[in-house]
Amino acid sequence: MPALEIEPLDAPPSEAGPDRRTRREQPLPIRLTHWFNVPLLVLMAASGLQIFYAYPELGPRGALYRWYPLQGVQPPSWIRFGGWLAGARHWHFALAWFLMLNGAVYLAYFFWSGEWRRRLFLPKRDAANALRMFAYYTHIARTPQPDDFYNGLQRLAYTIVIIVGIVMVLSGLAIYKPVQLHWLTMLFGGYDGARVVHFAGLCILAMFVATHLVLVAAHPRDIIKMITGGGRAALDRPS
């Protein structure tokens, strides 16, 4: 896959010659990593909840966190995977590598290809657009913001989810190896703090996926694009 030049989105349309190569709206590496994420995330979440089932509390023994309202509430069986604690741990620690690998491939391509320019939330460019989009979704504004490739709110959501993904890997490692990776565990306020962060990350990811599914159901053409790649012209001329 050759590196392609991507121009900043606010730049005037390219003057390049007729043989200038373009890229699809959803390039192959992004489509592949996106779809690999689907089974991996589902199985990681479900095996994680089977692990959580063994101690569905937050906080150390004898000093459970008072602010957590669901102490002792066990996740139901339909949402768990792995059969029992040992099985769920095997699945979780096995698939984690593939999810990390998938994320690493995605991020490497994301930055190497320049895709980050049209996907990452850059506050200067996207904050105002995100606010107006939020006003539209909450029915404060009547017409949606015109977007270039993604609107500000989409960029914000996709950027947050990348950051949450990285935090999930780090907090997961902090729980897995609280002594060998002690410095990392301390970063999350200790072992029980890392468990809170890891669980909160799951909740954020679940909310993201739910929102993503609702919005994508409202825009089915985006699903097709995530399968076929979509058109090639959109890169240079933001609509």
Binding site: Y55, R61, A86, F93, A94, K177
Partner: protein
Amino acid sequence: MPRSIDRRKLILGGTAASLLAGCDNRASAWFLKAMERWNEHFQAALFSPHRLAPELPPGTETPLRDFPQYYISDDLPEAPDDWTLKVGGIVRRPQVLTLDELKKMPRTAMRIQHHCVEGWSAVAAWAGVRVSDIAHLAGLDPRARYVEFRSFDSGYWSSWDLPSAFHPQTILAYEMDGMPLPPGHGAPLRLYSAVKLGYKMVKYLTEVNFLPNRTGGYWEDQGYEWFAGV
């Protein structure tokens, strides 16, 4: 061109789906076994014999009533009056040690966090004899690579890699929170360590055997991870 990419994607996707969904039990068992071996290498590579778990300040101990007691016997295992610890396997000087003899050996104390496989943590102060001191006393054979701990709790046992067993924070503990080890926590002697999950730390000890080959353990034989480092 796009067509061939689509076909490749279909094949890739199909392979991944059948692999990940684990539709075939044998395939998923093989996959998990291979990944566990990989994770064992990862854990062993990450382990440092010199990295210590942080000592916690006095007063951070979990109240004793909140520190779960755990044994597999139906009733609280009771130590026989003539209790001794046998140290054997491939050693030059097999030992039979009384609790008094153990208490006369160099004492190591630590107040550290406990990590259970279930996900809970707790804190207690422990004191006892380093496993490395026991090995030294018994004259370890250089062919020894593993060590097995056995108990009078209905045959509960576990086996360890030597580097973890010889970590300075791995001890045979006879004291918990400044008191003689309570019966619910493995009296008179239990294994305690900063570098393993709780189920590796055998309570109600009877035997320590240094071995050239790896064996299993009560939970390990049922499917829990053998290395189980933290």
